[in-house]
Symmetry: C2
Subunit: 84 residues, 2 copies
C-alpha cells in the first residue's frame, strides 16, 4: 500500500473509531444532557447519504467506514433519546 492510501486509511479509521469512546462514556454515565440532538440527527442522515453514495459508486472504503460510523452514531442518537 502506498503512503497516500495508508494516510487515508488511518484518517478514516480515526474519524470512524472516534465515536466509540463517546458511546462507551454515554452508556456508562447514562447521561446525554450535553449531547446535541441536532448534531446526531444531521450526522446520521448525512452518513446514510454517504452510505447510499458508496453503494451507488461501488466504493468499498466509503461503504465500510460509513457503515461503522452509522452504527455508532445511531447508537448515540438512541442514547440521546432515551437517557435525556
Amino acid at each position: 500500500m502506498d503512503f497516500l492510501n495508508m494516510l487515508g486509511l488511518i484518517a478514516g479509521v480515526l474519524t470512524t473509531a472516534a465515536f466509540l469512546p463517546q458511546v462507551v462514556k454515554t452508556w456508562r454515565s447514562r447521561s446525554a444532557k450535553d449531547l446535541s440532538l441536532g448534531m446526531f440527527l444531521m450526522f446520521v442522515v448525512g452518513v446514510v447519504l454517504w452510505l447510499v453514495y458508496g453503494i451507488l459508486t461501488n466504493n468499498i472504503p466509503i461503504i465500510f467506514t460509513n457503515g461503522l460510523t452509522l452504527t455508532l452514531a445511531s447508537t448515540l442518537l438512541y442514547f440521546k433519546l432515551v437517557f435525556k
Copy 2:
C-alpha cells in the same frame, strides 16, 4: 451537476454542518460534562490527517469539508477542556 455529485455534496454538507448545533449548545450551556474527550481528540487528529490527504492529492472537496470540520471539532475540543 449529476445526481451522484449532488448526493455526495449533500452528504458532505450534513456530516460537516452537524457539528454546528453541538458548538452552539455547548457554548450556551457552558457544560461539556457528557462529551467524550477521547472522541474529540481522535476526531480532530483524524480530520487533520484527512486535510493533509486532501492537500497532497489536491482534492478540493476533501480540503474544504475537512477544513470546516476541523474548525468546529477543535472548537468542541477546546470547550471540553475549558468548560469541564
